[in-house]
């Protein structure tokens, strides 16, 4: 299962060279769904004056191997801790974007003593708050899905795959490929209980125009994580670090570090 260390994980370090590196704390950075470590590389470069940064390709993404079983985010968290052990890293700060944030929440709850400070950038992890109309639409779609699957089973048709999926499935679902079972499992997970267990000083960084993990989701996480701080940047979307946005996030992460010295 996930805590076995035979699944290979690709990672790179930034800022770990030089005589002064040993005095810097470690920062684990985890990317979002469908991405790889390069997504966060420019921000890692900027943060490497403060940190020794470990950038990972999460299992199933980039150059890391695909899990043989259908992992949940707790499995990811366990495997990441095993990877940290392999790298000789004990306690570290953790930054996760989107799906990486979901894993970061699990890690912070699983071993609170190993996570110094937590940075959640447009993180997923709890169900998206939805309006009554959105909930009603989801119920209807759920019913349609069940009916179509039943028809497919009885009559050998492929209505669910050929009609329903192209019309109603999300882009991530459509592009998930071999990771689709993991996507289906993790996207419906609710890490609220784990969010409540987080002890690490936590900074949530959000784009006000985030359509994938809306601000309301971040605000709910902010309520769940005791003592957390949240910044919502107007004009930014789900990837507030894109283009030169990593300078903006690094500016505020640096200020947070000054206020929450280890």
């Amino acid at each position: 299962m996930a805590n076995s260390t035979d699944l290979s994980i690709f990672s790179v370090t930034v800022g770990a060279e030089g005589a002064s590196a040993a005095s810097k704390p470690w920062l684990l950075m985890m990317h979002g769904w469908g991405k790889n470590h390069l997504d966060l590389r420019p921000m890692a470069e900027l943060l490497s004056t403060t940190y020794r940064v470990l950038l990972v390709d999460l299992p199933g993404f980039g150059r890391s191997a695909l899990p043989k079983e259908v992992w949940g985010t707790r499995d990811y968290a366990e495997r990441l801790y095993a990877h940290l052990d392999q790298q000789g890293i004990g306690r570290c700060d953790v930054l996760g974007h989107s799906f990486g944030g979901r894993v970061a929440i699990r890690m912070a709850a699983l071993c609170p003593d190993r996570v110094g400070r937590l940075f959640l950038v447009a993180s997923s992890g709890i169900p998206r708050p939805r309006s009554f109309a959105q909930l009603a639409k989801m119920r209807v779609l759920g019913l349609v899905r069940s009916i179509l699957k039943f028809c497919d089973k009885c009559s050998g048709t492929h209505l669910f795959a050929n009609w329903f999926v192209p019309r109603f499935a999300s882009r991530d679902y459509l592009q998930a490929g071999a990771l689709r079972p993991i996507f289906v499992k993790t996207v419906n997970e609710d890490a609220s209980e784990d969010a409540r267990k987080i002890k690490a000083p936590t900074l949530l960084l959000w784009g006000q125009e985030d359509m994938e993990t809306p601000v309301a989701l971040g605000q709910r996480l902010h309520q769940l994580i005791n003592g957390s701080e949240m910044l919502v940047f107007p004009g930014r979307g789900h990837e507030p670090f894109e283009n030169a946005g990593h300078h903006l996030l690094t500016t505020y992460i640096t200020r947070f570090l000054e206020a929450h010295a280890a």
Partner: protein, 388 residues
């Protein structure tokens, strides 16, 4: 949230460096602290029309620019003090409030003092150099003449004007050949009032010089002929105005073929995963080279600071120097204000470090400071002579 400063970022413009300006502006806006500032994109298209609207923040929008379909609004800045912002051209007396103007043009009309003149007439706070420094900096050879006058070593060159060439090409070629440092080929020829290496050419003989001049005259009415120095390398440094003037670390840009081309600067991705140009930040370079003589670094830093003061620059500027491999002699070649990508790649490596977000903070603070000084000066007098 506290009241955010409304910052109109102006870019595009009627210049061959139009696209570079768009890249620089979108990059700067993405680094801007939107908790403090409300960026308002103001795009000037190639015909000189001014637009504002959120679609302008998307890089992909410019591939198929359609102002009407995107619902962009036509605006302009009237040369009249006290209006408080941009005027909507569709609705008389309707103002889009702006607290600070942030021009991010490269080249003609935006970097040469023209737009700065409009800001001065409208008496609005704006980022960067004023009219005089912008105009002088834009004219490469005249800038060098001025800086030589304050004792700074500059790269020799010869200014050739289009009407003179049209009248008597041979006389102009002879004048170039008689100029110091230009006696031997090859020679570099570039527009005197343009940047980004657009129109730049290398002439190996008299015939090629004539042809290269003709190419430059497509982009400018003045050509600058400079020596092609194979035994020299380029070193750049940036200077930032503000409550405490600062000089960045130096860089050695890496050219693919002798001189930096437009392709070197903007069409190589600099190793970025997306392959999209990040403007001048895309260029391959060595920042703060450890093997560069500290004496050369210190001299370049000193020259840049003196040149910045001599020209009365504000905001951020990048100074480009040529250094002789043989004897370490240093020559100031040109300056760019604003530089491509605002030279943030130099400031993020400087000590103390200045992230792009903080660099923008400094520039806006400097603009507001300058507006404050200006407001303290009496510019007008009441009618007296006509009342007698």
């Amino acid at each position: 949230m506290r009241q955010r400063l409304k910052v109109a970022v102006l870019f595009g413009g009627r210049s061959v460096e139009h696209e570079i300006s768009v890249i620089s502006a979108l990059q700067m806006i993405s680094a801007m602290d939107t908790l403090r500032y409300d960026p308002i994109p103001v795009y000037i298209d190639l015909s000189g029309k001014w637009f504002t609207g959120k679609p302008l923040l998307q890089r992909s929008f410019y591939r198929n620019f359609d102002a009407a379909a995107a619902g962009l609004e036509n605006v302009t800045l009237l040369p009249q003090p006290g209006l408080g912002g941009l005027s909507r051209t569709s609705a008389p007396n309707s103002i889009l409030p702006v607290d600070v103007f942030f021009p991010l043009f490269h080249g003609r009309f935006g970097e040469d003092g023209c737009i700065q003149g409009l800001f001065e007439l409208a008496e609005v706070p704006y980022v960067g150099c004023g009219v005089l420094a912008s105009a002088v900096a834009m004219s490469k050879q005249r800038c060098k003449t001025l800086l030589a006058g304050v004792g700074l070593p500059v790269l020799p060159g010869c200014l050739v004007e289009k009407p003179d060439v049209l009248r008597d090409l041979d006389a102009q070629l002879a004048r170039v050949a008689a100029s110091p440092w230009l006696e031997q080929f090859p020679l570099f020829v570039k527009p005197n009032n343009s940047g980004s290496s657009v129109g730049i050419g290398k002439a190996a003989n008299r015939e090629e010089l004539a042809a290269t001049l003709a190419n430059v005259f497509v982009y400018d009415v003045e050509a600058l002929v400079e020596p092609c120095l194979s035994d020299m390398f380029e070193v750049n440094v940036s200077v930032l105005a503000g409550r405490a003037k600062r000089v960045s670390v130096v860089e050695i840009p890496v050219a693919t073929a002798g001189a930096l081309t437009y392709e070197d600067k903007y069409l190589r991705s600099g190793g970025k995963k997306s392959g999209e140009s990040q403007g001048m930040a895309s260029l391959t370079r060595v920042i703060d080279p450890a093997d560069l003589d500290p004496g050369i670094k210190n001299t370049i830093t000193d020259y840049a600071r003196r040149a910045f003061d001599a020209l009365g620059c504000r905001g951020v500027a990048r100074f480009d120097f040529m250094v002789s491999k043989a004897d370490g002699r240093i020559y100031l070649n040109e300056l760019n204000s604003p530089p491509g990508s605002m030279a943030f790649y130099l400031w993020e490596k400087s000590a103390p470090r200045l992230l792009y977000t903080e660099l923008v903070d400094c520039l806006i603070e400097d603009a507001l400071d300058r507006a404050g000084w200006r407001a303290s000066v009496k510019w007008e007098m009441e009618f007296r002579a006509l009342k007698q």
